[in-house]
Structures are given as C-alpha cells and as structure tokens.
C-alpha cells in the first residue's frame, strides 16, 4: 500500500471515489464543505477525500415528494431547486447533504419533528475498499432488507462512503413565521417552552437559547407553520414576537473553552441548567439536543460527571485536540455492537 498522507483529493463522481478507495492509499477522512470538520478529532496523515465534487441533483420527483442527490450537493443548492416546487427538506442543518446526514448535528428542530433519520429513504454507497452497494429505496416507504442506510446518520463517515442519498421531501407550509421572545428570566422561558410544547400542531422549530454576553437572559425562539390564520392566531395566543433573526444552529467555543453537546428531556432542563455556570451559553433544540460552552476543561469534566450520574448523555464536540469526542459512557452492549459494525463494514479501519 503506497501512502499519500496528507493529500487532498476531490473526485467528480462515485466511480472516481471508488477508484481512490480501491487504490488503498491509507487512512481516509471524508470531507464535505468543511463546516463540521473542526468538531472531529484530526487524524494526522489521513488522505482527505473531498466529496464536494459530487454535486449533482440526480432526480427531483416533485409530485412524489422525493429526490436523489449526490453527497456533495449543498443544503443551499437543494433549497434553491426545491423552492419553485414549494417543497423543502424539513430538517435543520447546512453544508453538504452528505455531511449533514453523516453528522446529524441537530436532530429534529421541534418535539416529534423531522430529523435526518426520518428523511433518508436510501443511499448508494461504497465500502472502504471501493465496493459499491445500495440500501433502502427511492419510495417513501420500504421495509425490504436491513436499513443499512440508517447507519449513515451520525456515523461521521467512518463506516462507508454514501455517494448518493434518496430523500423524502415535504410541502412548504402555506405560512411560516419565526418568533423570538427575548431577555426572559429562566422561569418565564421554561414556562413559555412548556406552552409551546403543548401545541398539538404547527410548531416547526423550537429553541431555548442563552447567548454569551446576553446578561444571563433567555431567548425562546422557533417557528410556527400552517395556514396563515392559524399561524397568526397562535402567535397572538402565546404573545410570540415575530423575528427575522437567523436560527442559531450551534454554539462557538470560546477561546480556550469547550462545547459540550448532549441530549436532554424537557423535564430535565431545570436540573441540567442548575448544574451549569450561571452565565454559560446554552442552546436546546426542541428535538432534545443541547449544546453548552464551558470556559475551561475542568468545568466540562464536572458537567460531564454530573450528567453521567443523572443518566444523561453528552460529549465534547469542540475543544483542544485530544479532548474532542470525550463524553459520558455509552452502554457496553451498544459499544460492542457499534465496534462490530465498524469491523464488519470497514475491517481495516480505513475510514476515520
């Protein structure tokens, strides 16, 4: 095996990607638009396999509300193609679609909302040795065979290379209004959050946010979607303030600090917040994911220990090299199956 450690290659199609993999050039790190690379632990000497050259929207079946896209198609590119058809991919996230599905950085935007796992119908992929295979289907419903494509979600490109994704789309709502109620105290914010969660209909995204330097005030943000009169009535009923601010998807690590990402039930939020520094920036998405930034490693370790003792789950996603990926323990049985899957699909640990 010859090595071209540190090299960056950008193939233009799946056949060329397969050729690179078949050449067995050592360890390979997949790259999309790069928006999430800083959240992965670097692998010195790995070949950077840039998939942004695979950028074709292969099929857009608007009446059937499905599409097939190359993994390097960007979120913005797909949004532009869908807009004339009044369709959308209803999950938050940016960058390339391959990166979005492989990293699943946010999950669902609202309680019970759509997430990458519910929108991925199938894929064409390559094993680490370049062998092509497919999983799933192009139709909105299929239970034929095992759903290997579901393993893409959150795999961070370590199991196989998904070159084409088959996606489910949804109609754009007739009206959608973003709201942001700002500078609330914690109790008021949690109360409003609860009121919004009790809506049986129309809540398309929901966030609880405390930003750095915001004086400790809390923001409750989100979007209500549906028929125009329903949206207007809901905004009025809950005194929601219309806002054109862009949604915050992630928190940035402060200089020398760290970002911790995890899962939290709504009922666990008060306890979780009580265990964090009173001014720590915090972001909770309605689907259950949260991020918080902590100024020093010791503070992160204390937060992780508290979460672990409460049965919670989190890991460090932005930190100095050597700290990224550390987190609360994962069940031994889960870890064992994940290790076996890695060995089964990439026995030589090429994808990293």
């Amino acid at each position: 095996m010859s090595s071209i450690a540190g090299t960056h290659v950008r193939p233009r199609d799946a056949a060329a990607v397969a050729e690179v993999l078949r050449a067995r050039l050592g360890r390979v790190r997949l790259h999309g638009s790069g928006s999430r690379q800083q959240r992965l632990e670097p692998v010195p000497g790995a070949l950077a396999l840039d998939l942004t050259g695979l950028a074709t929207i292969d099929r857009l079946d608007a009446p059937d509300q499905t599409c097939s896209v190359d993994c390097g198609v960007t979120r913005a590119q797909l949004d532009d193609a869908l807009r004339p058809h009044r369709l959308e991919l209803p999950c938050p996230g940016d960058g390339t679609l391959g990166g979005l599905f492989a990293s699943d950085p946010i999950g669902a935007a609202a309680p019970g909302g759509q997430s990458p796992r519910s929108l991925l119908l199938g894929m064409d992929a390559l094993l680490a040795d370049g062998t092509p295979f497919k999983s799933g289907a192009r139709v909105v419903k299929s239970v034929a065979g095992f759903d290997v494509h579901k393993l893409l979600v959150g795999s961070e490109g370590r199991l196989f290379v998904a070159t084409r994704l088959h996606l489910r789309l949804k109609p754009l709502p007739r009206a959608r209004v973003a709201f942001a109620n700002q500078a609330l105290d914690r109790e008021a914010a949690l109360r409003l959050l609860q009121q919004l969660r009790e809506l049986p209909h129309g809540l398309q995204s929901l966030q609880l946010l405390r930003v750095a330097g915001g004086g400790g005030g809390w923001n409750v943000r989100g979007a209500i979607a549906g028929r125009a009169n329903f949206v207007a009535a809901t905004l009025r009923a809950l005194s929601l303030q219309e806002s054109d601010a862009h949604p915050v998807l992630h928190l940035e690590a402060p200089a020398g600090g760290e970002v911790l990402a995890g899962l939290a039930l709504p009922s666990a939020l008060p306890r979780l917040l009580a265990g964090l520094p009173t001014d720590a920036p915090f972001l909770w998405h309605g689907g259950g994911r949260f991020e918080t930034t902590l100024p020093v490693a010791n503070a992160t370790d204390r937060a992780l220990a508290a979460l672990a003792s409460a049965g919670g789950h989190a890991r460090i996603v932005a930190a100095a090299i050597g700290r990224r990926g550390l987190g609360t323990p994962i069940d031994a049985g889960h870890r064992s199956i994940a290790d076996r899957l890695k060995h089964a699909l990439d026995p030589h640990d090429v994808l990293c």
Binding site: D61, V140, K141, G145, L159, D331
Partner: protein, 484 residues
C-alpha cells in the same frame, strides 16, 4: 423430555414451556399461512431476565430461536423451523412507564398496539403507528417489522416513534439503545433505527421506549366514491400537490367495496363505485374545516359520485369500519387470502393498478386492492383455495409478478409487511449480491452465529434453498426448471 426442555421448565416453570405437538399448532405459522412449520418448543417468558436466561441457555446449546409477538406478521417472519424454540413475548404486556411531561412511554414488547393508546387516551395522548391489526398486534412485533398503517402518511412508520430499547442479544448479553430524550446518543450510531425492521434477526427487544403524540383537537374523515380508479388516484395527487398532509389517504377498489358491504364490516360504501377514497384530516378545528373544504372541492372536481363527511366519532368509526375490516371481509371470498404488500411512487399508482389487474387476469386469480394511496403502498389481495394446488401455484406466481411490477416502476417489494420467508426470492428484485452481502455483514455484527431467527430476510446464495421450504408445488412455479 429432552434435557433442554427440562432446563427451560426449570428456568420458566412448567406452564411457560410448551412441547406437546398439538399445543404447538398455534405457533406453526403467522398470517402468511402458505409457510407452515411446527417449532421444537414454545416458551413464554415474562421478564427481561427470563428472556436473557432462555437465550443464554439456547446459545450455549447452539439451538436456534425465534422471537414472536402476536403472530399477525404477514410474511412468515416469526415462523420457526422444526429445530427452533419460539420465544413468545405475549406475557410481557406491561406499560412500564408513561411520561406526560416528556411524551414517551416505556412498554414491554407484548403490549398490544391499541392497548397503549387506550392506556394513555385519558391523558389526551396516543401512539401514532396503527397497523390494520392494531387491536391484536404487539409493539414488539411492530418494532421488529417497522410496521406502518393508514396514519403513517402524516405521522411516519414505527421507526419514527421508537426512541430506544433494551435488547437481549443472541448470546444473552444486554444492550441498551437510545434514550427517551433521543434515539441517537451523542457521538454514537443510530442503532435503534437499524434494529427497527430487522425482523427479529438482531436480537429480542424486551423494553421499548416509544414517543407519544398529543391528540389533535379536531378530526374529520371524508369519503369520496368514484366511477373510476383513475379519478380516485387523481384526487389523491391533487390533495398532495396542494400541500395538504392528511393523516390518512386510503383507497378501496370495487371488489373490496363489494366484499366489505356483503360482510359484517358493512360501512355503507356505495357498492356501484369503482373506488372509495377515505381522507382523514386532523388538527385545530378551523384548519381542519378549511382543509376539508379543499378536499371536498378536489373530490367534486374529479367527478366524485358521492361525498360524505364524518364529523363525529361514531360516523368516523363507521367510515373506517369498512377499511379496517377489509382483510377480514375478503376472507369470505375464498378459504385463503394472500395479502401482498408492494410500494410504487405515488405518481405511478394508476399504472401499477392497471398492471396488477392484467396480471390477475393472466393467472385467472381473484384480485382485490386496498391501499395506502398517500404512500403508494399497495395491498393487492388474492383470494384462493389453499387446498387447490393449481390455484395456489397461480396465486404465488401472480404475487411474484406483481412485486416485480412494483420494482420495475421504481418501488419496493415491501412497504410494511417485511420479507420474512415470503419474500426471500423477491428481495433479489431490488438488491444485488453486493447489497445483500453488506446486509449480511450488518446482521452478523448483531447475530454472529445466525441462530436468532435464522433463514429470514436475506436469501441464501442458492435461492432454491428458500423455495424448498415452501410446498413443492410452489417451488415448481418459481423454479420451473425443477432446481428446487
């Protein structure tokens, strides 16, 4: 009594182990009655610890085993070979925990789907996936099969509602997947999603955490009767193209309507209609009222012969009675019913139905259609006499061609019933050797010895091996060269 059975009795008690041949009759098949096989024994554990003890014992003895829910599966998934022990989970039927604040429930696998909704109804909550068999089928079975149902057009399949599970792996080890806060843990693979739909071949779920949904304030069900199937399908396309997302979009064809109207499931459908379309809308009162008006307009525009709207629970129940009872009603048409399950892109439904009709005529079989039109999920049903070998063979051949048609139109050989043993051959219509090899690797990661529900989902390299498990006459139809 062999030593293994004695040891099983020691673990579970005498009344939880069945070995007498006549006692095993009820476990010789599921809803796919073409494939029958009596297991070596049936055990009825009542806890995770008991399942774990049984699996450890069977693993040590190298005995295959098959998990089973209510046996309502329609593809032979829980049918066990003569050497295998069935682990029946029917006694594990407790709702262990309900969180009204965080909207989830933890249940044992034997909890009946509808019983969960009944248990949380007073809290204004429900469990959304609703297979036709929901009054009998279990959550564990639904999880294993990734079951659907009429309301999954809007609410999604079982996989969209399972947050986590406790799994007894095939060697008896425990594995905890997901969390009530989210199915995928930070930095981990989404093993919950890949386990869902693995048809009992990856392990046995003994606790399942599912999402609960809030009841909608208003629900309206509309019925549109049409002179042609084309008009019914076009109405569905119009509804979807307008951006409406009804909770359900279901179509019954004329033969099904007539069978229903002649049965105890009579719902008052117009017997002269070529197709009946049921549309269910849910949401806030004023929204549902506006959407119902739009749906009515589409039905009228496409020449609806009769349009009805149920606005109260009793009327709604009546309109659904015919749809939910359709499979039972069709059972009156002959001694046996072969319920097929294929998917096509919704935009190719009409084309598929024309093709299915032609296949039925070619093979001289009685075909009826009831389907989830919103998802393009077809259920062509063939009523046949299983005692008539030639008719059975024609039935199987017609089914084979119908599924090939679905794949040719860009669809799938199964939308919600799974592969089991029924579709071991059909899987190859969709997947090549490389695809199946990757799936086999994934299965081996969970089930390295292959003893957990063997012979399901993935065909062996020699497809004749699977066909040989069916009656000889069917094997001949599928392999006229006589290779079986």
């Amino acid at each position: 009594m062999p030593a293994l059975e004695r040891e099983l009795e020691r673990l579970l008690g005498e009344r939880a182990v069945l070995t007498a041949p006549d006692a095993l009759l009820a476990w010789e098949c599921d809803g796919f009655t073409v494939h029958k096989s009596r297991p070596r024994a049936v055990v009825l554990p009542n806890s995770t610890a008991q399942v774990q003890a049984v699996v450890r014992l069977l693993h040590a003895a190298a005995v295959p085993f098959v998990p089973r829910g209510a046996g309502t599966c329609l593809s032979g998934g829980p049918t066990a070979g003569a050497d295998a022990v069935v682990i029946d989970l029917a006694r594990m039927r407790q709702v262990l925990h309900v969180s009204t604040e965080d909207l989830y429930a933890v249940v044992q696998p034997g909890v009946v789907n509808l019983d969960l909704t009944t248990a949380v109804h007073h809290l204004g909550l429900h469990y959304a996936p609703d297979p036709s068999s929901q009054s009998v089928c279990t959550i564990g079975g639904n999880f294993a099969e990734n079951s659907g149902g009429p309301h999954c057009f809007k609410y999604g399949m079982t996989v969209d509602h399972v947050l986590g599970a406790v799994i007894v792996l095939p060697d008896g080890a425990l594995c905890r997947l997901g969390d009530p806060a989210g199915a995928r843990l930070p930095g981990a693979l989404d093993l919950t999603a890949v386990f869902c739909g693995s048809e009992g071949t990856f392990g046995i779920a003994t606790e399942i955490t599912v999402r609960l949904c809030r009841d909608q304030r208003a629900v309206r069900t509309l019925l549109g009767a049409f002179a042609t199937m084309t008009a019914a399908c076009r109405t569905v396309s119009d509804i979807v193209a307008a951006g409406l997302v009804p909770a359900a979009l279901e179509i019954l064809d004329q033969a099904t309507i007539r069978a229903v109207e002649a049965s105890v499931y009579r719902a008052g459908y117009p017997a002269d209609a070529a197709a009946v379309l049921l549309v269910e809308l849910d949401g806030p009162d004023d929204v549902v009222a506006e959407e119902a008006a739009e749906v009515r307009a589409f039905m009228q525009q496409n020449g609806g012969l009769r349009i009805e709207e149920a606005t109260d629970a009793a009327e709604r129940k009546r309109l659904w009675k015919g749809r939910k009872g359709a499979f039972g009603a069709m059972g009156r048409l002959n001694t046996d019913l072969y319920v097929l399950d294929g998917v096509v892109p919704r935009t190719r439904l009409e084309e598929a139905l024309v093709g299915i009709s032609a296949i039925g005529q070619k093979h001289g079989v009685l075909l009826t259609n009831v389907f989830h039109a919103g998802d393009g999920n077809l259920h062509p049903n063939i009523s046949y006499d299983g005692r008539d070998a030639a008719m059975t063979a024609r039935t199987v051949a017609a089914g084979h061609e119908i599924l090939q048609l679905c794949v040719d139109l860009g669809g799938s050989v199964s939308g919600e019933h799974g592969i089991g043993t029924e579709k071991l051959d059909h899987v190859r219509m969709m997947y090549g050797d490389a695809d199946l090899d990757v799936m086999a690797r994934v299965r081996a990661a969970w089930n390295p010895d292959g003893r957990c529900n063997p012979g399901k989902v993935l065909p062996s390299r020699n497809a004749c091996a699977e066909v040989a498990k069916w009656p000889q006459m069917i094997a001949k139809v599928l392999d006229p060269e006589g290779g079986a």
